[in-house]
């Protein structure tokens, strides 16, 4: 009987599939149009087209944008927020900062709950978690009346210091559920057990806002898969780079927010292992956006909070820096100057060459005009591109600037490359990381076309284009573990006397973590727990997350932890102050459940040779470039630039002076030609 491991990446335009046939040790990919009205439908029908025997699916993971889209398009569920009396406006004040410096008519990011939907109840905890005022249960009466009267489905609760003592929040849920069975209730301490009431409220509200939508979707998908006889449990990719079961995702929908893009980073992590390259810069360039992320010492760089549309979210997530740059980025004139992006033609009308009514030139049009793309082999030939139209519209803009069409097209690429290089600098140079020590992994439809130019901008000496870069994010999802993060605020000085409390706090966190993994049916032997702590110099606001050694705490280990902190601080900030007093802020445990995971490459073919020669423009000159089909390039073969390697969902450009080599797993490794 067949045994398939399947991953599905549901994007705005396309749904990508990667299937690994364990028996035959063979992987294959698929791509279908997404069905935004009912995403589950596209998934199930696409799956059925790809695999005859759905009962053979033993593992299924998917990345979803259902929660993210509900948030971005403000189509989530109406939420009521309940908080401590005296602090109703904390959520609306939103800490009072301005994100734009020169704006007289500034508007704060719009919150998800208007002030009139925020209620308070009497209760108060103190900074040490002790109860100053008990919870007044009678205060819920009018709130419950309103919930029933107005048919509210989702409530978030955030009380002061619930991260130290969750008693009142837990009781609030009991009271609400007793009276309104089936009500979705999000408690702030369950989303983020750390201090800062505004950020915690914001995270809880966001979870409450998308919870019913995500739950409905997962239920529908689960049901349809079961109907088709798929036996595997459904897993969902999380923002933190791990996966969780759909059942867990329904409890913690906020972790599905960045479910899609992290697949690529996790794929990068897998490459890092197999290629033995500890440091990778991963770039994903598609139609509208460019995502950059890092693998440092074999691990994705993970942060503990982020902002979405200006609203803070406390959750563990893979660091991904996104800018508006892609194949659809538009070129236009402003005050006599040429701009490229962030405005995008999107999928509709799309670039001029799609022939769907677009009249403003895009980066894709420029690539086509310069010979870097093959008009007859876009999406494997499924869609013909109109080169003449691209040339006409680029020529129109070029004339306004007294430039030739090709000259402008090269200029557009130079500008968009400079912007993407800038985004890459932001996550490297500005964080104290030297990109020259990294290899660049490029994927997404457009990534491999621009990769070498980006490497040149940042003086990176090696570019890796994985097999099937157009579905690399989905591939990455098959390479991960179950992951859950638990946190507790622990605001104590770093000194020998805290060793006991530290140990018992971590023991409790780990017990909590094991419990979650047991719920996910992870066997004891496959559980891995990783202790980290947020630490800082006494008096500072910001902290650095430090990985802790295993084992108990004593004077010696505390010493070692301090050393690790100073070192991490130095990397991040360029200096450190050994000997200065240090304090703990938050303790964290990452609970990993190791999944069955085998390095699955794609088996490169045996025979090859180049197909044809096409004129491609480099540095103002059209030169004959060899054109290759990726699926006919065998292991060990080398390709010297100028050359173009084409495959169904992506195109790799190898400029003069660079050389690509195909490794045993089908990756193309591109390096400068040796003199």
């Amino acid at each position: 009987m067949a045994d398939y491991r399947v991953s599905i990446d549901i994007g705005g335009t396309f749904t990508d599939f990667v299937v690994y046939d364990q028996g035959r040790e063979r992987a294959f990919t698929g791509k279908v149009l997404s069905t935004p009205d009912d995403p589950a439908r596209g998934v199930v029908s696409g799956l059925a087209d790809l695999i005859a025997d759905l009962e053979g699916i033993s593992f299924l993971v998917h990345g979803t944008t259902v929660g993210l889209n509900a948030f971005l398009e403000r189509r989530g569920t109406r939420v009521l927020l309940i908080t401590t009396e005296g602090f109703r406006d904390v959520y609306t004040i939103a800490r009072g900062d301005r994100k734009k410096l020169f704006a007289l008519q500034y508007r704060k990011p719009r919150g998800l709950v208007p002030p009139e939907d925020i209620h308070t109840v009497r209760e108060r905890m103190l900074y040490d978690g002790s109860v100053q005022e008990p919870l007044r249960e009678e205060d819920f009466g009018p709130i419950i009346e309103r919930i029933e009267r107005e048919g509210i489905d989702s409530v978030a609760v955030c009380f002061l210091y619930s991260y130290l003592n969750p008693e009142h929040e837990l009781r609030a849920r009991e009271i609400l559920r007793e009276r309104v069975p089936g009500l979705s209730v999000t408690l702030s301490h369950e989303i983020a057990s750390e201090w800062r009431e505004y950020e915690r409220s914001s995270s809880a509200v966001l979870n409450a806002y998308i919870a019913p939508t995500v739950e409905r979707y997962l239920k529908s998908l689960d049901g349809q898969l079961k109907d088709r006889g798929v036996p595997a449990r459904l897993h969902v990719m999380q923002s933190n780079g791990g996966v969780m079961t759909a059942a867990a995702a329904r409890e913690l929908p906020i972790q599905t927010l960045l479910s899609g893009p992290v697949g690529g980073t996790i794929g990068g992590q897998a490459l890092s292992r197999t290629l033995n390259r500890p440091n990778l810069l991963c770039v994903d360039m598609g139609g509208t956006s460019f995502d950059a992320s890092l693998i440092v010492n074999g691990r994705p760089s993970v942060s503990t909070e982020t902002e979405l549309e200006g609203l803070p979210v406390l959750m563990s997530l893979v660091d991904i820096h996104t800018i508006g740059a892609g194949g659809g980025s538009l070129a236009y004139l402003e005050a006599g100057a040429l701009r490229v992006g962030p405005r995008s033609a999107g999928a509709d009308p799309g670039p001029v060459c799609y022939g769907r009514g677009g009249t403003q030139p895009t980066v894709t049009d420029a690539n086509l005009l310069l010979g870097r793309m093959n008009p007859d082999y876009f999406l494997g030939g499924a869609m013909a591109l109109d080169r003449a139209a691209a040339e006409r519209e680029i020529g129109r803009v070029a004339r306004e600037l007294n430039l030739g069409a090709e000259e402008l097209a090269e200029g557009m690429l130079a500008i968009i490359n400079a912007k993407m290089a800038e985004a890459m600098r932001t996550i490297t140079v500005e964080q104290g990381v030297d990109p020259r020590e990294y290899s660049l992994v490029a994927f997404g439809g457009a990534g491999p076309m621009h990769a070498v130019a980006l490497a040149e901008e940042l003086e990176i000496g090696e570019v890796i284009v994985p097999w099937a870069p157009g579905t690399f994010s989905a591939w990455g999802m098959l390479q991960t573990d179950i992951r859950h993060d638990v946190t507790r605020t622990f605001y104590r000085p770093m000194e020998a006397s805290v060793a006991g409390d530290l140990e018992s706090a971590y023991t409790e966190l780990e017990e909590q973590a094991r419990e979650i993994l047991r719920d996910e049916e992870v066997p004891e032997g496959r559980m891995h727990l990783l202790r980290t702590a947020d630490m800082r110099y006494v008096g500072q606001e910001y902290f650095v997350n430090v990985e802790l050694p295993g084992g108990g705490f004593d004077a010696e280990t505390l010493e070692e932890i301090a050393d690790r902190f100073h070192a991490a601080y130095r990397t991040r900030y360029g200096h450190s102050t050994p000997g200065a007093p240090v304090e703990f802020v938050n303790l964290r445990v990452a609970a990993l459940g190791e999944l069955e995971r085998r390095v699955i490459g794609f088996r490169p073919p045996a025979g090859g040779g180049h197909e044809e020669v096409r004129g491609v423009v480099f540095e103002g000159e059209r030169v004959p470039a060899k054109i290759f089909r990726r699926d006919r390039l065998p292991t060990g073969s080398g390709v010297s630039g100028p050359a173009v390697v084409e495959e169904e969902t992506s195109t790799t450009v190898i400029p003069p002076g660079w050389r690509a080599r195909v490794d045993e797993l089908g990756n193309m490794i591109i390096t400068p030609e040796e003199e």
Binding site: F102, Y127, L338, E422, V429
Partner: protein, 577 residues
């Protein structure tokens, strides 16, 4: 290999490189600074300048530092001549009469050479916590600059890439936190060298000839955009005036008078008639006054275009010598930014009739600083200093309500301190924190609300307050009404009450309550024209009370807070006649 094109593509790439060079400098500074006021409060700024001291790229830092780094470099060029600079030189200065701002602000800059050729400068500004004033930080009652710390003109702290140990030692010995002072200084020096390295790589790639041509084109574009915008403002003379409550030492108001002349593409801002130098620390050096005028200009004109040497091509600023806006030795300058918040608002007010769609009512006005200091019994009586600026209301504008609870215009990225953080760090409980209803100026669009915050002392402590703008609370525009001003109420542990705004070192006993109220923003348009439904929502949201709705907007709500249409129409009719 140098590229020699000077076409629009090269120009756009060079423009982005200048900006990214400034961003890299800023990242270096923030990453390596020692004190939170820099890496968290973002009280800093950097710029890449050309060989004439004109801005090529500036990163966003504190808004009020907009475009005054070049002044320092130009002064140094004037004073020493270009031939005095050598590769590896780095200069420090902090004299408010030269650079503007206060002694705490350190300006550090370095010439950039490409080979033997001086091609530009990198410059940085950052707030140093303590520079040896009579009290820690920035005294609130200084009457001479000599009480505010050490004062330096442009001085070499590095020569030939070597630190001048004797000079740096002098700096270190004269501040209370010498160790972090030198750390912050090094961060600024690193930022300058980052700028040097990146600018050199830009020169290597394009050559100076191309860079100069691109620079001229970039400046031309900025200047053209600004000239067109100023020309679009109807010619005329526009005026406004207002006052600070006092200078922190005396009782008299401090006047700010603004006259803006617009003639074709030219704009002149004249501050003649503003108060003579004050005895207290609210004076400001001319360089910083010019910056503040540029902030106001930038709020109204092309706000999204980055600043460079072509920006402000036709703006002239005049302030009489010896006035608060052109401080002369020995006028104290510690709280120089207080009159600037008002100045920026007044420039907008003056020009509002000419650009009503771009303008807004005044905002609440100043940083509204409260410190509480004492010994923390929970931490073995270790000293604590809890310092906070406080957000307030911003002015309404034609197309929207003013923002409720937002930090003031001279600050930027500052955030309030979370209750959970504040109480954990300091022996003070925060009992309530929220919008102050009816504090926003009524209008067709409503001025933003100020905030209240109630502190209960758990131990004895000293109170310091710097609250402003009670005599000139935020005004409305186009028929919009004024907002409420600030207030601070102290309830002593014996039950007696006291209201005040500024105070230095007031001892309070455990159990005392301090409640701060910040002002609102001005309204815009006639409040009787505000949609009654929006007034009702303001009442539900807590921005306006039911009584306020009737008093200020003529909107009558019944007990269930529904609009009583008939009563509202009647009340509004009465009001209009």
């Amino acid at each position: 290999m140098a590229e020699t094109r000077t076409d629009p593509i090269t120009t756009e790439i060079i423009r982005n490189l200048f900006l990214s060079c400034a961003e890299d400098m800023n990242a270096t500074l923030i990453r390596s600074a020692y004190t939170p006021i820099i890496y968290e409060g973002k009280d800093c700024s950097v710029a890449l300048l050309d060989e004439n001291g004109d801005v090529l790229g500036q990163s966003s830092g504190l808004p009020i530092f907009l475009g005054n780094l070049e002044v320092c470099v130009k002064l140094a060029i004037e004073e020493f001549g270009l031939e005095a600079f050598r590769p590896g030189d780095v200069f420090y200065m902090n004299d408010p009469y030269l650079q503007g701002t206060h002694l705490n602000d350190s300006t550090i800059f370095a010439p950039i050479y490409h080979g033997d050729e001086l091609v530009g400068f990198s410059a940085t500004r950052a707030h140093w916590l303590d520079v040896g004033a009579k009290d820690p930080g920035t005294p609130m009652d200084s009457t001479e600059i000599y009480q505010e710390g050490f004062r330096w003109g442009p001085t070499r702290i590095y020569a030939g890439y070597e630190q001048r140990e004797d000079v740096v030692d002098l700096l270190r010995r004269n501040g209370r936190f010498g160790y972090s002072l030198v750390g912050d200084m090094n961060a600024q020096v690193s930022a300058c060298f980052t700028g040097e390295e990146r600018f050199r790589s830009i020169v290597d790639r394009f050559g100076m000839e191309t860079i100069r041509a691109a620079r001229e084109e970039i400046f031309r574009q900025s200047a053209q955009l600004d000239r067109e915008a100023v020309a679009a403002i109807p010619d005329g003379t526009y005026t406004a005036e207002g006052c600070l409550d006092n200078d922190g030492v005396g009782e008299d108001p401090v006047w700010v008078r603004v006259r803006v002349d617009v003639s074709g593409e030219e704009m002149t801002i004249d501050l003649g008639g503003s108060s003579e130098a004050a005895r207290g620390p609210v004076n400001c050096g001319i360089a910083q006054t010019i910056s503040a005028c540029r902030v106001a200009y930038k709020l109204l004109i092309n706000p999204d275009r980055p600043v460079d040497g072509g920006t402000f091509p036709t703006l002239t600023v005049r302030a009489p010598e010896g006035s608060i806006f052109h401080a002369q030795e020995p006028a104290p300058c510690g709280w120089y930014f207080t009159p600037l918040g008002l100045l920026i608002d007044l420039i907008v007010k003056a020009l509002a009739p000419a650009v009503p769609d771009e303008a807004a009512g005044a905002h609440y006005g100043d940083s509204m600083v409260i410190y509480l200091a004492g010994l923390d019994p929970r931490k073995g009586n270790a000293p604590f200093l809890a310092l906070e600026p406080t957000p307030g209301g911003w002015g309404a504008f034609a197309s929207g309500d003013g923002q409720d609870g937002l930090i003031n215009n001279v600050n930027g990225g500052f955030k309030d301190i979370p209750v959970e953080v504040y109480e954990t760090k300091y022996p003070i409980q925060i009992r309530r924190y929220g919008f102050r209803p009816d504090s926003g100026g009524p209008g067709r669009t409503r001025g933003g609300c100020g905030l209240f915050r109630e502190y209960r002392l758990q131990t004895d402590a000293s109170l310091y307050l710097w609250f402003e703008r009670s005599k000139t609370p935020a005004w409305g525009l186009e028929g919009g009404r004024d907002a409420r001003g600030p207030q601070v109420v102290v309830r002593h542990s014996d039950g007696s009450e006291q209201t005040l705004l500024k105070v230095n070192n007031l001892p309070l006993e455990a159990g005392s309550l301090v409640t701060t109220y910040t002002g609102g923003g001005g309204g815009y348009g006639d409040p009787l024209e505000r949609d009654p439904e929006r007034v009702r929502r303001d009442v539900l949201a807590g921005y306006v009370t039911r009584e306020g709705a009737e008093r200020d907007y003529g909107v009558v709500l019944d007990e269930k807070l529904r609009v009583d249409e008939a009563a509202t129409a009647r009340r509004r009719r009465e009001r209009r006649t």
